[in-house]
C-alpha cells in the first residue's frame, strides 16, 4: 500500500466514507462521523498507519483532508 493509500484508508475506515469523498470538501464536521470524537480516532489511525506521533497543535489544526496532507509532510510522510 502506498502512503497515499494508507492516508486515504484512515479517512475511509474512520469515517465510513467512500473514496469519492476524499477531496477538498472533506473538512472537519463536513461528514457526521468527523466530529470531535471521530477526529481523535482519525489521528489515532494515522499515527498507527505511519508510526508517528502528532503534536498537539497539529492535531488541533488538522482541519481537512487537504490540510492533513501538509501535516504528513512535516512528519516525513510523502503522499
Amino acid at each position: 500500500m502506498t502512503s497515499l493509500e494508507k492516508y486515504n484508508a484512515a479517512f475511509i475506515e474512520t469515517f465510513d466514507i467512500t473514496e469519492e469523498q476524499l477531496n477538498s470538501e472533506l473538512v472537519y464536521q463536513s461528514v457526521e462521523a468527523w466530529d470531535s470524537v471521530g477526529h481523535m480516532q482519525l489521528i489515532a489511525a494515522l499515527e498507527d498507519a505511519f508510526d508517528i506521533m502528532l503534536d498537539t497543535d497539529d492535531i488541533v489544526d488538522f482541519s481537512s483532508y487537504d490540510k492533513g496532507k501538509e501535516f504528513m509532510a512535516k512528519y516525513e510522510v510523502e503522499l
Partner: protein, 214 residues
C-alpha cells in the same frame, strides 16, 4: 456511608470518596491534596481504588495514591488492558482531547505526560462482594468505552462513570461497537435498576435514575 464528591480540575471529572467508619473506597482517583493528606495520615484505611473506565481523567491519581498507601485497584479486565497504554487511556493526547472535545483554549488545556498504571484486581461481566456492611456490585457496562463499568451499592446507589451523565446521551463513538454494546448490554441493566436509584456520574451532578431519559 458517607459519599464525598470531588470535582477535579481535569475537565471537571468527578472523583468520589466512600467512607464507612474508618474505611474508604475512592472511585476514579485524582491525586488531590486532600486525598494525599488523608492517606498519609493513616487514620483511615484506603481499601480500594475503583475505576469506572480507562480514560485518563478518571485514572490520573492511581499511581500517586498507590505510592503513598497500599490499596488495590479494581476495574474490569478490559479497562485493565487499556489503562497501561497512554494511547488507549487518552493521556497521550489529553491536551488535544481537552481542546477539541471540551472546547478548552490552547494554553488552558492541561499538559500531561503519557500515563500508565496497572490494576490489581480485575473482573469480567460481574463481581460482587461485601464491604463494611454494604453490598458492592461491579457490572461491566460497555458503550462509552470497552472497559466501562458501573458500581452499584446496596441496590440503590450507582456510580456510573461516563456511561450515564444527566441530560447527556451516552457517548458511544469512542470505539467501533460502542453503540451496539451500550444498547445490547448496558442499557438493559441500567433500565432495570430501581427507579429511585441515585446515580453519581463521572461528570456533573447526581440524579435519580427515573429522571434520566434513555
Amino acid at each position: 456511608m458517607k459519599i464525598t464528591t470531588v470535582i477535579t480540575p481535569l475537565i471537571k471529572s468527578n472523583m468520589y470518596l466512600l467512607q464507612e467508619e474508618s474505611h474508604i473506597i475512592v472511585i476514579d482517583p485524582y491525586a488531590s491534596e486532600e486525598i494525599i493528606q488523608r492517606t498519609r495520615s493513616r487514620e483511615e484505611s484506603l481499601d480500594y481504588l475503583f475505576l469506572t473506565h480507562e480514560h485518563y481523567d478518571h485514572i490520573s491519581g492511581v499511581n500517586a495514591i498507590k505510592k503513598d498507601f497500599e490499596c488495590q485497584v479494581l476495574c474490569s479486565k478490559a479497562c485493565a488492558e487499556r489503562i497501561i497504554d497512554p494511547r488507549l487511556n487518552y493521556s497521550r493526547h489529553f491536551e488535544a482531547y481537552c481542546i477539541i472535545q471540551n472546547g478548552m483554549r490552547r494554553g488552558e488545556a492541561p499538559k500531561v505526560e503519557p500515563y500508565s498504571c496497572v490494576a490489581d484486581l480485575m473482573f469480567s461481566e460481574y463481581y460482587r462482594f461485601d464491604w463494611q456492611g454494604h453490598t458492592i456490585e461491579l457490572v461491566e457496562t460497555p458503550g462509552h468505552t470497552i472497559g466501562s463499568i458501573c458500581i452499584l451499592i446496596d441496590k440503590i446507589i450507582l456510580f456510573s462513570g461516563d456511561t450515564l451523565i444527566f441530560d447527556h446521551k451516552t457517548e458511544t463513538k469512542n470505539y467501533k461497537n460502542g453503540s451496539k454494546d451500550f444498547e445490547g448490554k448496558s442499557k438493559p441493566f441500567l433500565q432495570a435498576l430501581l427507579p429511585d436509584t441515585v446515580v453519581y456520574p463521572g461528570h456533573g451532578d447526581s440524579f435519580v435514575i427515573k429522571e434520566y431519559q434513555f
